[in-house]
């Protein structure tokens, strides 16, 4: 008797739970699952827009082959974008940690500083960013004064000088990506027990030592979160060259939806691979530290 009641109770809870999340399940099936399936299918097809709707004709891997072998722009744009990400993400994360450490100090006007550093999260839209970039409001004013850009162009190979100059020219916008990351670090830093600092200070630890021995271990998981967040943030940001190219191809008669879908899938697989690489690197390091601690 009792057992049966429990089973019923459990089943009822499960049904209620499913009912609560049912809007998401439906939405996921309609606006995620089906589009994902459809877009995969299109990426392997030639897509025709007819008066009745969409007509697809399977062509195998042709779209993908075209992207890598024949398209004059795609590979180059993609590589440039990956290089951009590889340089920009560490800048964002280190800058965010730096600012979070500064704001975490017991200082006056902490709220004001926090408000300043979070402001870009609120006002950045792709179009506004483009505008700022094209008006030259995005680069550090001193860069042009001291000829740093020319120096880089002279001393590095063009394959890397391009992305680096690109980053320098929109340096402030890249810093602008770090608002959320700063707050995530700040939340992490506030978990460090104040007494730990006091104890370390009594033992004669310098701020430098405190950073490496106390703060960094605590902040470490947040570094991973922030790297992942930054990568996703940059990848879904709507004004990068690859995304613009995908959109342009959608409405081109010669290439169309099929080719645009293939580009989108290549783009997504690259994010996915990069995220997995990041996770692998970091989880390995974590293990290494564990062994060191135990041994």
């Amino acid at each position: 008797m009792k057992k049966r009641y429990k089973l019923n109770h459990r089943r009822r809870e499960a049904i209620t739970g499913f009912l609560f999340i049912s809007p998401w399940i439906l939405g996921f099936l309609m606006f995620m699952m089906y589009p994902i399936y459809f877009s995969l299918k299109m990426s392997f097809s030639k897509v025709y827009i007819t008066t009745n709707g969409v007509d697809t004709q399977p062509i195998g891997f042709d779209n993908y082959k075209y992207a890598f072998l024949s398209d004059p722009d795609f590979v180059e744009k993609l590589l440039n974008f990956i290089k951009f990400t590889v340089i920009a993400v560490p800048i964002i994360v280190i800058f965010a940690l730096f600012v979070a450490l500064l704001i975490n100090q017991p200082i006056r006007f902490r709220g004001v500083f926090r408000a300043i550093f979070f402001l870009p999260v609120v006002i950045t839209s792709g179009e506004v960013m483009n505008e700022l970039f094209s008006q030259g409001a995005a680069s550090l004013p001193m860069l042009n004064k001291y000829g740093i850009i020319n120096f880089i162009r002279m001393s590095l190979s063009p394959a890397w000088a391009g992305p680096i100059i690109n980053i320098m020219q929109q340096f402030i916008l890249i810093l602008w990506y770090s608002g959320v990351q700063i707050l995530i670090f700040l939340a992490g830093l506030q978990k460090v027990n104040k007494q730990t600092f006091e104890a370390a200070a009594i033992d004669g630890a310098s701020p430098w030592e405190m950073f490496w021995k106390i703060i960094l271990p605590v902040v470490k998981p947040f570094i991973l979160i922030n790297i992942i967040y930054s990568i996703i943030d940059i990848f879904v940001y709507t004004s990068n060259d690859v995304i613009i190219m995908i959109k342009d191809n959608m409405f081109k008669v010669a290439t169309g939806y099929g080719y645009a879908s293939a580009l989108a899938w290549i783009y997504f697989s690259i994010i996915f691979v990069i995220l997995i690489i990041v996770l692998l690197i970091f989880s390995r390091k974590e293990e290494y530290f564990k062994i060191e601690k135990n041994g």
Partner: protein
């Protein structure tokens, strides 16, 4: 003779200075509370803060410049006179009132809906045990990393077939189903928040005979207002700034403020360049930046009032995964 007295005097002087106190004042007890350290911290914060605000200061200063000031290299930050013509021209070129209204409808309605629908789903994940729960929640998080570019073409076709393009409805419908812009993040925020509600509170309501839905909106939602405000604000701001899907969904019929920036040149020349030759003034950076300022102004005002919610929300709702 003189030297000896001087030495004596200095000796006396040195004896009466407490070096430890000075050292503590300058370097601090813990290495981070001395004057030197604090000066460095403030110096860094102010200079980094300036770099951070540089684009905004640039917009403000540039947008008030008349053409002469703009062309004059000696005028850097402060325009010679307050020139409001840029703003007036930008205001008309943007069709400000009309576009602002569209932008507001297009961002407020999905934000309000997402605030409720994601709460419902987040509550489902936080409170009930059901099979495949972890897998399903994993899928929720996974949707966060799928770029819209992958699904946007089918979505576009779907809403085209439903004849909903050219209206805010595609965004609204997705919001109803706890989908759309960054809803995975909102579901996560809610889930984290709801797990902090003490179960005894919900149990007692249950004993009083309330059903689950009633408990949700009579007890859970009222104490979750902080989380709801955070979700609403972020959803609002992100919908406001979103231009990629919005431009696809709205098409040519409607346009939001950020989108209007793309067509500003055409609109401007249509308005101001068709007149008589004497009045012709080409669009210049100042006018474009005045338009940019008008576009971010509503968000700046919102941020001014709701700043605390934005900044503290991330910590308070435990998005960092406690």
């Amino acid at each position: 003779m003189k030297n000896i007295t001087f030495a004596k005097k200095t000796n006396f002087f040195l004896k009466h200075i407490n070096f430890d106190k000075i050292k503590i004042a300058l370097l601090g007890r813990q290495g981070n509370d001395g004057i030197i350290f604090k000066t460095i911290v403030y110096y860094l914060l102010i200079s980094v803060g300036f770099i951070y605000l540089y684009p905004i200061l640039f917009i403000v200063s540039q947008s008030f410049k008349s053409l002469e000031d703009l062309l004059d290299p000696t005028v850097v930050w402060m325009p010679r006179r307050l020139y409001l013509q840029n703003y007036i021209r930008a205001f008309y070129s943007l069709k400000y009132i009309e576009t602002l209204a569209v932008t507001m409808i297009n961002s407020f309605s999905p934000a309000i809906i997402q605030m409720f629908s994601c709460a419902l789903v987040g509550y489902g994940f936080a409170r009930f045990r059901f099979p495949f729960k972890n897998i399903l929640f994993g899928i929720v998080l996974f949707t966060f990393i799928i770029p819209t570019q992958v699904i946007m073409i089918p979505l576009f076709i779907t809403f085209f077939k439903l004849n909903l393009l050219g209206s805010p409805l595609p965004n609204i419908i997705q919001a109803i189903f706890a989908g759309g812009l960054k809803s995975a993040l909102f579901i996560l925020i809610y889930r984290q928040f709801f797990t902090t509600i003490p179960p005894s509170l919900i149990e007692s309501a249950k004993i009083d005979g309330a059903n689950e839905l009633k408990i949700f909106y009579k007890i859970v939602l009222p104490i979750s207002i902080p989380a709801m405000v955070v979700v609403f604000l972020f959803s609002l701001v992100w919908h406001w700034n979103e231009t990629y899907m919005t431009s696809l969904f709205l098409g040519d019929k409607l346009t939001t403020l950020p989108l209007k920036l793309q067509t500003l040149n055409d609109e401007y020349s249509r308005l101001y360049l068709s007149g008589s030759v004497r009045q012709r003034i080409d669009i210049n950076e100042s006018i474009r930046l005045a338009a940019t300022m008008l576009i971010i102004l509503p968000l700046l005002i919102l941020y001014l009032f709701a700043q605390k919610w934005f900044v503290e929300g991330i910590e308070r709702t435990g998005i960092t995964g406690e």
